[in-house]
Protein backbone atom coordinates (compact mmCIF):
# COMPACT_ATOMS: atom_id res chain seq x y z
CA UNK A 1 0.00 0.00 0.00
CA UNK A 2 2.69 2.48 1.02
CA UNK A 3 4.77 1.72 -2.02
CA UNK A 4 1.82 2.19 -4.35
CA UNK A 5 0.99 5.55 -2.82
CA UNK A 6 4.57 6.73 -3.06
CA UNK A 7 4.63 5.79 -6.73
CA UNK A 8 1.37 7.64 -7.26
CA UNK A 9 2.79 10.75 -5.62
CA UNK A 10 5.92 10.58 -7.77
CA UNK A 11 3.83 10.30 -10.93
CA UNK A 12 1.72 13.27 -9.86
CA UNK A 13 4.82 15.33 -9.17
CA UNK A 14 6.26 14.46 -12.58
CA UNK A 15 2.99 15.43 -14.24
CA UNK A 16 3.13 18.85 -12.60
CA UNK A 17 6.74 19.30 -13.64
CA UNK A 18 6.05 18.13 -17.20
CA UNK A 19 3.08 20.42 -17.56
CA UNK A 20 5.29 23.39 -16.86
CA UNK A 21 7.87 24.35 -19.45
CA UNK A 22 10.73 26.62 -18.46
CA UNK A 23 10.32 30.34 -18.95
CA UNK A 24 10.47 31.04 -22.67
CA UNK A 25 13.32 32.96 -24.27
CA UNK A 26 13.03 36.72 -24.42
CA UNK A 27 14.81 39.18 -26.65
CA UNK A 28 16.92 41.55 -24.66
CA UNK A 29 18.06 44.84 -26.12
CA UNK A 30 18.67 48.45 -25.09
CA UNK A 31 15.90 49.68 -22.82
CA UNK A 32 14.87 46.19 -21.70
CA UNK A 33 14.08 45.51 -18.09
CA UNK A 34 16.57 43.10 -16.53
CA UNK A 35 16.08 41.55 -13.10
CA UNK A 36 19.29 40.53 -11.32
CA UNK A 37 19.21 38.22 -8.30
CA UNK A 38 21.76 38.23 -5.54
CA UNK A 39 21.98 36.49 -2.19
CA UNK A 40 22.49 39.56 -0.03
CA UNK A 41 24.34 37.63 2.68
CA UNK A 42 27.84 37.03 1.29
CA UNK A 43 30.04 39.97 2.23
CA UNK A 44 31.83 41.62 0.58
CA UNK A 45 30.44 40.17 -2.69
CA UNK A 46 26.84 41.06 -1.95
CA UNK A 47 25.28 41.75 1.40
CA UNK A 48 22.68 43.78 3.24
CA UNK A 49 23.43 46.81 5.36
CA UNK A 50 21.64 47.17 8.68
CA UNK A 51 19.08 49.45 7.04
CA UNK A 52 18.10 46.56 4.76
CA UNK A 53 19.74 47.95 1.59
CA UNK A 54 21.67 45.65 -0.78
CA UNK A 55 25.32 46.63 -1.06
CA UNK A 56 28.61 45.06 -2.10
CA UNK A 57 30.96 44.49 -5.02
CA UNK A 58 28.37 42.79 -7.22
CA UNK A 59 25.66 45.36 -6.48
CA UNK A 60 27.98 48.18 -7.60
CA UNK A 61 29.25 46.19 -10.57
CA UNK A 62 25.68 45.36 -11.66
CA UNK A 63 24.79 49.06 -11.62
CA UNK A 64 27.84 49.83 -13.78
CA UNK A 65 27.14 46.99 -16.24
CA UNK A 66 23.50 48.01 -16.60
CA UNK A 67 24.53 51.57 -17.42
CA UNK A 68 26.85 50.22 -20.12
CA UNK A 69 24.14 47.94 -21.55
CA UNK A 70 21.62 50.78 -21.36
CA UNK A 71 19.05 48.55 -19.70
CA UNK A 72 16.82 49.16 -16.74
CA UNK A 73 17.94 46.96 -13.85
CA UNK A 74 16.33 45.77 -10.69
CA UNK A 75 18.42 43.88 -8.14
CA UNK A 76 16.38 41.40 -6.10
CA UNK A 77 17.30 39.23 -3.16
CA UNK A 78 17.04 35.44 -3.28
CA UNK A 79 18.28 32.82 -0.82
CA UNK A 80 21.22 30.80 -2.17
CA UNK A 81 19.25 27.57 -1.98
CA UNK A 82 16.92 27.67 -4.94
CA UNK A 83 18.72 30.51 -6.70
CA UNK A 84 19.16 28.45 -9.91
CA UNK A 85 15.65 26.88 -10.03
CA UNK A 86 14.08 30.33 -9.58
CA UNK A 87 16.23 31.66 -12.48
CA UNK A 88 14.89 28.88 -14.67
CA UNK A 89 11.34 29.50 -13.54
CA UNK A 90 11.76 33.10 -14.76
CA UNK A 91 11.61 34.89 -11.42
CA UNK A 92 14.60 36.95 -12.60
CA UNK A 93 16.95 36.95 -15.58
CA UNK A 94 20.46 37.01 -14.15
CA UNK A 95 22.30 35.68 -11.09
CA UNK A 96 25.19 37.75 -9.73
CA UNK A 97 25.90 36.14 -6.38
CA UNK A 98 29.57 35.20 -6.18
CA UNK A 99 28.76 32.10 -8.21
CA UNK A 100 31.79 30.26 -9.59
CA UNK A 101 31.60 29.05 -13.15
CA UNK A 102 31.71 25.24 -12.91
CA UNK A 103 31.08 22.45 -15.41
CA UNK A 104 28.27 21.10 -13.23
CA UNK A 105 26.38 24.42 -13.26
CA UNK A 106 27.07 24.84 -16.99
CA UNK A 107 24.89 21.76 -17.56
CA UNK A 108 21.81 23.72 -16.50
CA UNK A 109 22.56 27.42 -17.02
CA UNK A 110 24.94 29.57 -19.04
CA UNK A 111 27.43 32.01 -17.64
CA UNK A 112 28.71 35.32 -18.90
CA UNK A 113 32.47 35.65 -19.06
CA UNK A 114 34.03 35.86 -15.60
CA UNK A 115 33.96 39.27 -13.92
CA UNK A 116 35.82 38.28 -10.77
CA UNK A 117 38.50 35.87 -9.85
CA UNK A 118 40.36 35.76 -6.56
CA UNK A 119 43.99 35.11 -7.46
CA UNK A 120 46.27 32.60 -5.73
CA UNK A 121 49.31 34.17 -4.06
CA UNK A 122 52.48 32.91 -2.35
CA UNK A 123 53.19 34.08 1.20
CA UNK A 124 56.57 34.00 2.99
CA UNK A 125 57.81 35.42 6.29
CA UNK A 126 59.38 38.87 6.25
CA UNK A 127 62.74 37.32 7.22
CA UNK A 128 62.74 34.97 4.20
CA UNK A 129 65.20 35.64 1.35
CA UNK A 130 62.14 35.63 -0.93
CA UNK A 131 60.44 38.43 1.04
CA UNK A 132 61.01 40.95 -1.74
CA UNK A 133 60.31 38.54 -4.60
CA UNK A 134 58.62 40.26 -7.54
CA UNK A 135 58.06 39.44 -11.17
CA UNK A 136 57.46 41.83 -14.05
CA UNK A 137 53.68 41.36 -14.04
CA UNK A 138 51.07 41.62 -11.29
CA UNK A 139 48.79 38.92 -12.63
CA UNK A 140 49.40 35.62 -14.45
CA UNK A 141 46.51 33.91 -16.26
CA UNK A 142 47.31 30.25 -16.79
CA UNK A 143 45.37 29.93 -20.07
CA UNK A 144 47.00 31.32 -23.24
CA UNK A 145 50.21 32.18 -21.40
CA UNK A 146 51.96 35.08 -23.16
CA UNK A 147 55.69 35.86 -23.12
CA UNK A 148 55.54 38.05 -20.01
CA UNK A 149 53.53 35.45 -18.12
CA UNK A 150 55.86 32.64 -19.23
CA UNK A 151 58.79 34.64 -17.85
CA UNK A 152 56.87 35.16 -14.58
CA UNK A 153 56.20 31.42 -14.21
CA UNK A 154 59.89 30.67 -14.89
CA UNK A 155 60.85 33.24 -12.28
CA UNK A 156 58.57 31.53 -9.71
CA UNK A 157 60.16 28.14 -10.43
CA UNK A 158 63.65 29.66 -10.10
CA UNK A 159 62.78 31.48 -6.86
CA UNK A 160 61.43 28.44 -5.03
CA UNK A 161 63.68 25.75 -6.59
CA UNK A 162 64.80 23.23 -3.94
CA UNK A 163 62.62 24.81 -1.26
CA UNK A 164 59.59 23.48 0.59
CA UNK A 165 56.20 24.95 -0.28
CA UNK A 166 53.17 24.26 1.93
CA UNK A 167 49.60 24.06 0.70
CA UNK A 168 46.24 22.87 1.98
CA UNK A 169 45.47 19.36 0.73
CA UNK A 170 42.93 18.67 -2.05
CA UNK A 171 42.74 22.28 -3.18
CA UNK A 172 43.16 23.84 -6.60
CA UNK A 173 46.34 25.35 -5.14
CA UNK A 174 47.81 21.90 -4.54
CA UNK A 175 46.90 20.92 -8.12
CA UNK A 176 48.72 24.00 -9.39
CA UNK A 177 51.89 23.20 -7.41
CA UNK A 178 51.95 19.59 -8.66
CA UNK A 179 51.43 20.67 -12.27
CA UNK A 180 53.77 23.66 -12.46
CA UNK A 181 56.37 23.24 -9.68
CA UNK A 182 56.16 19.53 -8.87
CA UNK A 183 59.63 18.73 -10.27
CA UNK A 184 61.44 21.60 -8.60
CA UNK A 185 60.06 22.06 -5.08
CA UNK A 186 59.12 19.83 -2.16
CA UNK A 187 55.37 20.06 -1.65
CA UNK A 188 54.10 19.68 1.91
CA UNK A 189 50.33 19.33 2.32
CA UNK A 190 48.25 20.30 5.36
CA UNK A 191 44.76 19.32 6.43
CA UNK A 192 43.98 22.85 7.54
CA UNK A 193 45.19 26.23 6.43
CA UNK A 194 45.79 27.24 10.08
CA UNK A 195 48.36 24.45 10.57
CA UNK A 196 50.10 25.60 7.41
CA UNK A 197 50.23 29.18 8.72
CA UNK A 198 51.78 27.99 12.01
CA UNK A 199 54.43 25.92 10.19
CA UNK A 200 55.26 28.86 7.93
CA UNK A 201 55.85 31.08 10.96
CA UNK A 202 57.86 28.30 12.64
CA UNK A 203 60.05 28.02 9.53
CA UNK A 204 59.07 24.42 8.67
CA UNK A 205 58.03 25.51 5.18
CA UNK A 206 59.65 28.27 3.11
CA UNK A 207 56.47 29.50 1.43
CA UNK A 208 52.73 28.89 1.43
CA UNK A 209 50.24 29.14 -1.42
CA UNK A 210 46.55 30.05 -0.97
CA UNK A 211 43.88 32.43 -2.25
CA UNK A 212 44.31 36.18 -1.85
CA UNK A 213 40.81 36.24 -0.39
CA UNK A 214 42.25 34.26 2.52
CA UNK A 215 45.57 36.10 2.85
CA UNK A 216 44.43 39.72 2.67
CA UNK A 217 42.15 39.67 5.74
CA UNK A 218 44.58 37.39 7.66
CA UNK A 219 47.61 39.60 7.04
CA UNK A 220 45.66 42.56 8.37
CA UNK A 221 45.36 40.88 11.79
CA UNK A 222 47.85 39.89 14.52
CA UNK A 223 47.73 36.25 13.39
CA UNK A 224 49.24 37.28 10.06
CA UNK A 225 52.08 39.24 11.64
CA UNK A 226 55.43 38.85 9.89
CA UNK A 227 53.89 37.31 6.77
CA UNK A 228 54.11 38.98 3.35
CA UNK A 229 52.56 38.24 -0.04
CA UNK A 230 55.11 37.83 -2.84
CA UNK A 231 55.08 37.28 -6.60
CA UNK A 232 52.15 37.62 -8.97
CA UNK A 233 48.47 36.73 -8.42
CA UNK A 234 47.65 33.62 -10.44
CA UNK A 235 44.29 32.70 -11.99
CA UNK A 236 42.84 30.36 -14.60
CA UNK A 237 44.06 26.87 -15.50
CA UNK A 238 43.95 24.66 -12.39
CA UNK A 239 42.49 27.58 -10.39
CA UNK A 240 39.18 27.42 -12.28
CA UNK A 241 37.14 29.81 -14.31
CA UNK A 242 36.24 32.53 -11.85
CA UNK A 243 32.91 34.07 -10.97
CA UNK A 244 30.42 35.04 -13.68
CA UNK A 245 26.80 36.07 -14.17
CA UNK A 246 24.41 33.10 -14.43
CA UNK A 247 21.91 33.40 -17.30
CA UNK A 248 19.26 31.05 -18.73
CA UNK A 249 20.56 28.96 -21.66
CA UNK A 250 17.87 30.40 -23.96
CA UNK A 251 18.82 34.01 -23.37
CA UNK A 252 21.81 34.20 -25.71
CA UNK A 253 21.23 37.88 -26.45
CA UNK A 254 21.50 38.72 -22.77
CA UNK A 255 24.71 36.66 -22.35
CA UNK A 256 26.25 38.52 -25.27
CA UNK A 257 25.29 41.89 -23.75
CA UNK A 258 26.82 40.94 -20.40
CA UNK A 259 30.03 39.66 -22.03
CA UNK A 260 30.43 42.95 -23.88
CA UNK A 261 29.72 45.11 -20.82
CA UNK A 262 32.04 43.06 -18.55
CA UNK A 263 34.84 43.30 -21.14
CA UNK A 264 34.40 47.07 -21.19
CA UNK A 265 34.34 47.33 -17.37
CA UNK A 266 37.55 45.32 -17.15
CA UNK A 267 39.23 47.24 -19.98
CA UNK A 268 38.64 50.70 -18.49
CA UNK A 269 39.60 49.65 -14.95
CA UNK A 270 36.14 50.00 -13.37
CA UNK A 271 36.04 46.34 -12.33
CA UNK A 272 39.47 46.62 -10.71
CA UNK A 273 38.54 49.84 -8.93
CA UNK A 274 35.37 48.30 -7.46
CA UNK A 275 37.23 45.11 -6.48
CA UNK A 276 39.94 47.04 -4.63
CA UNK A 277 37.24 49.11 -2.94
CA UNK A 278 35.32 46.06 -1.65
CA UNK A 279 37.96 43.33 -1.26
CA UNK A 280 41.08 45.34 -0.52
CA UNK A 281 42.86 43.72 -3.47
CA UNK A 282 42.27 43.27 -7.18
CA UNK A 283 39.79 40.41 -7.45
CA UNK A 284 38.56 41.37 -10.90
CA UNK A 285 38.91 38.91 -13.76
CA UNK A 286 41.42 39.65 -16.49
Amino acid sequence: MNKKLTTLAAVAALAVAGLAADASAKDFAKGSKVRIATEGAYAPWNFTDSAGKLVGFEVDLAADLCKRMEVECEVVQQAWEGIIPALQAGKYDVIMAGMSITAKRMEVIDFSRAYAQTPAVFVVTDKSPSAGFKVGVERVTLEDVDAGEKAALDAIVKEFKGKTVGVQISTTHENFLREFLGKDVTIKTYDTQENLDLDLQAGRVDAALASASYWVPLLATDKGKGMVMVGPGMTGGPFGNGVGAGIRKDDKSLSAMFDKAINAAIADGTAKKLAVQWFGFDASAK
Partner: protein
Protein backbone atom coordinates in the same frame (compact mmCIF):
# COMPACT_ATOMS: atom_id res chain seq x y z
CA UNK B 1 28.95 43.78 25.21
CA UNK B 2 29.25 47.03 23.26
CA UNK B 3 29.42 45.08 20.04
CA UNK B 4 26.22 43.23 20.90
CA UNK B 5 24.23 46.35 21.65
CA UNK B 6 25.43 48.16 18.53
CA UNK B 7 24.78 45.15 16.25
CA UNK B 8 21.35 44.52 17.72
CA UNK B 9 20.39 48.20 17.89
CA UNK B 10 16.97 49.33 16.76
CA UNK B 11 16.51 51.22 13.49
CA UNK B 12 18.78 51.67 10.48
CA UNK B 13 22.00 51.44 12.49
CA UNK B 14 21.47 47.92 13.81
CA UNK B 15 19.73 44.62 13.20
CA UNK B 16 17.40 44.52 16.22
CA UNK B 17 14.33 45.68 14.33
CA UNK B 18 15.04 43.26 11.44
CA UNK B 19 15.29 40.32 13.86
CA UNK B 20 12.08 41.23 15.70
CA UNK B 21 10.24 41.74 12.41
CA UNK B 22 11.47 38.25 11.42
CA UNK B 23 10.11 36.83 14.68
CA UNK B 24 6.70 38.41 13.99
CA UNK B 25 6.61 36.84 10.53
CA UNK B 26 7.52 33.48 12.07
CA UNK B 27 4.67 33.82 14.56
CA UNK B 28 2.10 34.90 11.95
CA UNK B 29 3.13 32.17 9.51
CA UNK B 30 3.07 29.48 12.21
CA UNK B 31 -0.37 30.63 13.42
CA UNK B 32 -1.89 30.60 9.93
CA UNK B 33 -0.27 27.28 9.02
CA UNK B 34 -1.26 25.63 12.30
CA UNK B 35 -4.90 26.82 12.02
CA UNK B 36 -5.04 25.53 8.45
CA UNK B 37 -3.48 22.30 9.70
CA UNK B 38 -6.11 21.83 12.41
CA UNK B 39 -8.88 22.44 9.85
CA UNK B 40 -7.30 19.93 7.47
CA UNK B 41 -6.68 17.58 10.40
CA UNK B 42 -10.36 17.62 11.42
CA UNK B 43 -11.41 16.77 7.88
CA UNK B 44 -8.63 14.17 7.64
CA UNK B 45 -9.66 12.52 10.91
CA UNK B 46 -13.29 12.44 9.78
CA UNK B 47 -12.17 10.84 6.51
CA UNK B 48 -10.03 8.23 8.24
CA UNK B 49 -12.88 7.31 10.61
CA UNK B 50 -15.47 7.29 7.83
CA UNK B 51 -17.65 4.30 6.96
CA UNK B 52 -16.91 4.83 3.28
CA UNK B 53 -13.79 2.99 2.09
CA UNK B 54 -12.79 5.66 -0.54
CA UNK B 55 -12.74 8.33 2.19
CA UNK B 56 -10.60 6.13 4.39
CA UNK B 57 -8.18 5.53 1.49
CA UNK B 58 -7.93 9.26 0.81
CA UNK B 59 -7.22 10.02 4.46
CA UNK B 60 -4.73 7.17 4.70
CA UNK B 61 -3.00 8.28 1.47
CA UNK B 62 -2.69 11.86 2.68
CA UNK B 63 -1.15 11.04 6.05
CA UNK B 64 1.13 8.36 4.61
CA UNK B 65 2.54 10.54 1.85
CA UNK B 66 2.91 13.78 3.79
CA UNK B 67 4.33 12.19 6.92
CA UNK B 68 6.59 10.01 4.77
CA UNK B 69 8.41 12.67 2.75
CA UNK B 70 10.61 15.47 4.11
CA UNK B 71 8.82 18.77 4.79
CA UNK B 72 11.40 20.55 2.68
CA UNK B 73 10.37 18.46 -0.34
CA UNK B 74 6.71 19.44 0.09
CA UNK B 75 7.77 23.10 0.21
CA UNK B 76 9.94 22.83 -2.90
CA UNK B 77 7.22 20.96 -4.76
CA UNK B 78 4.58 23.57 -3.92
CA UNK B 79 6.85 26.56 -4.41
CA UNK B 80 8.54 25.72 -7.69
CA UNK B 81 5.96 23.23 -8.96
CA UNK B 82 3.03 25.44 -7.95
CA UNK B 83 4.56 28.47 -9.62
CA UNK B 84 5.20 26.61 -12.86
CA UNK B 85 1.79 24.98 -12.82
CA UNK B 86 0.06 28.36 -12.41
CA UNK B 87 2.17 29.81 -15.21
CA UNK B 88 1.48 26.85 -17.50
CA UNK B 89 -2.25 27.21 -16.88
CA UNK B 90 -2.07 30.97 -17.56
CA UNK B 91 -0.18 30.30 -20.79
CA UNK B 92 -2.50 27.51 -21.91
CA UNK B 93 -5.80 29.18 -21.10
CA UNK B 94 -5.14 32.88 -21.45
CA UNK B 95 -2.03 33.03 -23.65
CA UNK B 96 -0.19 34.99 -20.94
CA UNK B 97 3.52 34.12 -20.90
CA UNK B 98 4.92 36.51 -18.32
CA UNK B 99 6.19 35.50 -14.92
CA UNK B 100 3.65 35.00 -12.18
CA UNK B 101 4.99 35.18 -8.68
CA UNK B 102 3.21 33.20 -6.00
CA UNK B 103 3.57 34.95 -2.71
CA UNK B 104 6.14 33.25 -0.44
CA UNK B 105 3.90 33.67 2.60
CA UNK B 106 0.89 32.06 0.90
CA UNK B 107 2.93 29.13 -0.39
CA UNK B 108 4.60 28.76 2.98
CA UNK B 109 1.30 28.75 4.84
CA UNK B 110 -0.21 26.21 2.44
CA UNK B 111 2.89 23.97 2.55
CA UNK B 112 3.24 24.03 6.33
CA UNK B 113 -0.54 23.72 6.75
CA UNK B 114 -0.48 20.59 4.57
CA UNK B 115 2.40 19.13 6.60
CA UNK B 116 1.03 19.96 10.05
CA UNK B 117 -2.45 18.85 8.87
CA UNK B 118 -1.16 15.32 8.44
CA UNK B 119 0.12 15.22 12.02
CA UNK B 120 -3.02 16.94 13.34
CA UNK B 121 -5.12 14.29 11.55
CA UNK B 122 -3.52 11.55 13.62
CA UNK B 123 -3.78 13.54 16.87
CA UNK B 124 -7.47 14.31 16.32
CA UNK B 125 -8.24 10.77 15.17
CA UNK B 126 -6.69 9.44 18.37
CA UNK B 127 -8.67 11.93 20.46
CA UNK B 128 -11.94 10.95 18.79
CA UNK B 129 -11.22 7.27 19.48
CA UNK B 130 -10.46 8.11 23.13
CA UNK B 131 -14.05 9.28 23.74
CA UNK B 132 -15.78 6.25 25.33
CA UNK B 133 -18.25 4.61 22.96
CA UNK B 134 -20.78 4.28 25.80
CA UNK B 135 -21.15 8.06 26.06
CA UNK B 136 -22.20 8.27 22.42
CA UNK B 137 -24.72 5.48 22.93
CA UNK B 138 -25.98 7.21 26.09
CA UNK B 139 -26.38 10.51 24.23
CA UNK B 140 -28.34 8.74 21.48
CA UNK B 141 -30.50 7.06 24.13
CA UNK B 142 -31.27 10.50 25.58
CA UNK B 143 -32.51 11.48 22.13
CA UNK B 144 -29.70 13.83 21.09
CA UNK B 145 -29.52 14.64 17.41
CA UNK B 146 -26.23 14.16 15.52
CA UNK B 147 -25.34 17.86 15.67
CA UNK B 148 -26.13 18.21 19.36
CA UNK B 149 -24.13 15.06 20.13
CA UNK B 150 -21.20 16.48 18.17
CA UNK B 151 -21.38 19.83 19.94
CA UNK B 152 -22.10 18.73 23.51
CA UNK B 153 -20.37 15.36 23.76
CA UNK B 154 -17.66 15.10 21.10
CA UNK B 155 -16.09 18.57 20.71
CA UNK B 156 -15.39 19.29 24.42
CA UNK B 157 -13.86 15.86 25.01
CA UNK B 158 -11.94 15.63 21.71
CA UNK B 159 -10.49 19.08 22.47
CA UNK B 160 -9.42 17.85 25.88
CA UNK B 161 -7.74 14.72 24.56
CA UNK B 162 -6.23 16.44 21.51
CA UNK B 163 -4.75 19.55 23.12
CA UNK B 164 -1.47 18.04 24.41
CA UNK B 165 -0.82 16.42 21.02
CA UNK B 166 -1.77 19.59 19.15
CA UNK B 167 0.61 21.54 21.38
CA UNK B 168 3.33 19.28 20.05
CA UNK B 169 2.23 19.84 16.44
CA UNK B 170 2.24 23.60 17.08
CA UNK B 171 5.86 23.52 18.26
CA UNK B 172 6.90 21.47 15.23
CA UNK B 173 5.09 23.91 12.93
CA UNK B 174 6.71 26.89 14.64
CA UNK B 175 10.15 25.43 14.06
CA UNK B 176 9.33 24.24 10.54
CA UNK B 177 8.73 27.87 9.53
CA UNK B 178 12.53 28.13 9.35
CA UNK B 179 12.30 26.00 6.17
CA UNK B 180 10.29 28.76 4.48
CA UNK B 181 13.38 30.99 4.65
CA UNK B 182 14.63 29.27 1.49
CA UNK B 183 11.71 30.52 -0.59
CA UNK B 184 12.39 34.11 0.38
CA UNK B 185 10.19 34.87 3.36
CA UNK B 186 12.29 36.89 5.77
CA UNK B 187 11.47 35.15 9.06
CA UNK B 188 13.81 34.56 12.00
CA UNK B 189 16.27 32.24 10.25
CA UNK B 190 16.48 34.31 7.08
CA UNK B 191 16.99 37.57 9.01
CA UNK B 192 19.71 35.86 11.05
CA UNK B 193 21.47 34.50 7.99
CA UNK B 194 21.30 37.84 6.15
CA UNK B 195 22.62 39.68 9.20
CA UNK B 196 25.39 37.18 9.94
CA UNK B 197 26.45 36.95 6.29
CA UNK B 198 26.55 40.73 6.03
CA UNK B 199 28.37 41.46 9.28
CA UNK B 200 30.33 38.15 9.48
CA UNK B 201 29.25 37.76 13.09
CA UNK B 202 27.28 34.49 12.86
CA UNK B 203 27.48 33.65 16.57
CA UNK B 204 25.65 36.76 17.74
CA UNK B 205 22.81 36.50 15.24
CA UNK B 206 22.20 32.74 15.42
CA UNK B 207 22.23 32.96 19.21
CA UNK B 208 19.74 35.81 18.96
CA UNK B 209 17.60 33.63 16.65
CA UNK B 210 17.71 30.79 19.19
CA UNK B 211 16.55 33.15 21.93
CA UNK B 212 13.69 34.41 19.74
CA UNK B 213 12.54 30.83 19.02
CA UNK B 214 12.72 30.01 22.73
CA UNK B 215 10.66 33.09 23.60
CA UNK B 216 8.03 32.04 21.05
CA UNK B 217 7.91 28.40 22.14
CA UNK B 218 7.96 29.20 25.87
CA UNK B 219 5.18 31.75 25.38
CA UNK B 220 3.06 29.34 23.37
CA UNK B 221 3.65 26.56 25.94
CA UNK B 222 1.97 28.83 28.43
CA UNK B 223 -0.97 29.49 26.10
CA UNK B 224 -1.44 25.76 25.56
CA UNK B 225 -1.16 25.16 29.30
CA UNK B 226 -4.02 27.62 29.90
CA UNK B 227 -6.05 26.04 27.10
CA UNK B 228 -5.57 22.61 28.67
CA UNK B 229 -6.72 23.94 32.04
CA UNK B 230 -9.81 25.32 30.35
CA UNK B 231 -10.50 22.06 28.47
CA UNK B 232 -10.13 20.08 31.71
CA UNK B 233 -12.34 22.39 33.74
CA UNK B 234 -15.04 19.73 34.15
CA UNK B 235 -12.64 16.96 35.10
CA UNK B 236 -11.51 16.33 38.65
CA UNK B 237 -7.79 15.81 39.00
CA UNK B 238 -6.86 12.44 40.36
Amino acid sequence: MGEWTSLLAWGDAGWGDEMVRGALWTLVLATVAFSLGVAIGSIGAAAKLSHLPPMRWLGQGYTTVIRGVPDLLVIYLLFFGGNQAVMAIARGLFGYDGYIELNAFTIGAIALGTVSGAYSTEVIRGAVLAVPRGQIEAARACGMSGWLLFRRIMVPQVARYALPGLGNVWQLTLKDTSLISIVGLVEIMRSASIASGSTQKPFIFYLCAAVLYLVLTAGSNRVFGLAELWANRGVRRA
